[in-house]
Each structure stands twice: as C-alpha cells, then as structure tokens.
C-alpha cells in the first residue's frame, strides 16, 4: 500500500532531510569505495595514439613504456578505442611482420566505456568487474581524454587498505 505523506500546514517548515539516514560504513574501505573519487586512484600518466597509427606503432609505444594498453583518440582528443595486450594476441597471424600494415582501428576495441573523475571507485570497479574491462579511460564533461585507469592502478589503490598483509 502506498504511504501518504502528511501535508504540511501553510507556513510550516518541513526539513527536506528529515528522513535522511547517514550511511553507516563498516570500515574505512567501504567508505572509500563510496565517497572517494577517481582522483584517489592514479589515472596518469597514460599512453595514446591517433587513429592513423598501425598495430606495430602502438605495440612499440606500449613496449617502450612497459604499459599494457594505449588509448586511440580522434582529432578532438576524444577516446574512440582501446588497444591492449589482449588485442596483440588476437592480432598476431602467421606473419608477425604484417602487424606494421594493420591499422590500429581494425584491431582496437571501439567505443570504450568511460568514467568521469568525479565517479567513485565503486563505480569503476563495477564497470571493470561486471563488464570484464581491464582498462577504463577517464574523460571530462566534454568527453575529452584525461587519463586511464587500469588493473594495476586499482590494485595499488586497493593494497593501500591491506598494507599490514604480507605478500607471497
């Protein structure tokens, strides 16, 4: 049954936050998931190439910087695709020399999902966990590329909450 809200009498002040319940976080990690923003996770530096690059060009940039991913941008600096190490495996055919002739636009993943720098880490994790993405570009309100969040950067942010745990 739908509950009816009591109508205030004319002139009576009604606090719009009277029904607000402040979140009761179990720990600082849960609070960070909700209340921090993408700014808390490093999203720079990042690599980008333009649409005219070849697959081999992108691989050289990635290998030189030891990065797993490069963002492909258009002339307005808006992300149009992502090329990652996984795409290298998919692109390699019988002859590796052919990679210099394959345009990056043929091998990249088109129209990647993006996040804003004001999004929360939980939203980024939701996108990566549910969508199976390893990298998510960060864009501004105009859709221009600001940075890139990858698994390694998420891990660095996560591990800050488990600093007292010994590694293998």
């Amino acid at each position: 049954m739908k509950r009816r809200r009591r109508q205030p009498t004319p002139g009576e002040f009604v606090d719009p936050l009277s029904n607000y319940e402040a979140p009761d976080y179990a720990d600082d990690f849960e609070q960070a998931l909700c209340e921090e923003t993408v700014d808390a996770i490093d999203f720079k530096p990042f690599l980008k190439v333009d649409e005219s690059a070849s697959v081999l060009d992108a691989m050289k940039v990635m290998a030189a910087e030891n990065n797993a991913c490069v963002v492909v941008v258009d002339s307005d600096d808006k992300p149009v695709g992502i090329f990652s190490e996984r795409d290298v495996v998919q692109s390699v055919g019988d002859d590796a020399a052919e990679l210099a002739k394959v345009p990056i636009t043929d091998a990249m993943t088109r129209d990647p999902y993006t996040v804003y720098r004001t999004d929360s880490p939980a939203q980024v994790l939701n996108l990566m966990g549910s969508g199976g993405f390893r990298h998510v570009p960060v864009v501004n309100a105009d859709g221009k590329l600001l940075g890139l969040i990858g698994t390694r950067r998420i891990l660095r942010w996560l591990s800050g909450y488990f600093a007292d745990v010994a590694s293998a």
Partner: protein, 156 residues
Amino acid sequence: MGLRDDILHEPISELALKPLLSVPVGMTVRRVVTAMRRRKMGSAVVMEDGANPVGFFNERLLMHMLVNETGTLDSPVDQVMSDELITLSVHDPIAKLIVTMQERKLRWICVTDDAGRAHSITGCKNLFEYLVDHFPRHVKVRPLRSIMAMEQREGA
C-alpha cells in the same frame, strides 16, 4: 563484519578459479598463442614432464618478443618465457592475493591445491567480480553515475 574483513579472512577459493593453460617445454610460441586465443586466456604455464611448472608465458612477453625481436613465433616457448612463477595456496586469504599482485606487478597468479600442485589461476578479473558481488548495501544503492562537478566557475 565489513568488506575489508571479508577480504582479510576469506580464502582465495572464494574467487572464481580458472583451470590453467599448461603447455610443454619446447612448444612453439605460435602454438602457445593459438592455445591462449582459443581458451581466451592471457597466460600459459610452461610444464616440464607434464607436471613440473618451470615458467610462464603471457601477452606482455609476446609483445616484447615481437617488438624487440628477441624471438620469433617459431621459437620454443621456454626460450622466451619468464621463469619467475609466483604461486599462492588456495587457502591463502584474498588480501594476500591483492598485496602479492601489487608488489610483483602481476595480473594473474597460479593457485596451488593442498598437495602443492599448480592447478588453476586467478587474478584481477576474478578479484573485481568478487568485490562487485560483495559490495555492501551502501555501494549498491548509489546512483550509477555521479553528478559532474563543474570544472570552471560559472560566469557572472
């Protein structure tokens, strides 16, 4: 108990574990890449005598091999593999997986069973799925998109 406590105490076996792709010493890189592509996996464990792991090969090693020409697609995988194979027990806590992957700069880790045999892998993808599945209520009830913060002051 919060999410942090879950991560500190729940074992790696709570994550989705994927059977590892094992390839024998001497197999060519071309065949390993074909197997990785077919199984949709980013890495393969190189085994000696069918049971003894001696190293691993992954997408990054393939990319560096092709760019730096340290090998060809017809090279034996054991010539271009990495012999630094990190393993964790299926009973280790998930927090140990996070810290180990961060410190060793890994995306995947080989998981061993009770007898110490490498039998599966798990990594960032499975970890993120776990986190999303275990998000507390406060996370789940948040709006999907935030309100964009203005980057410049409004004029006038």
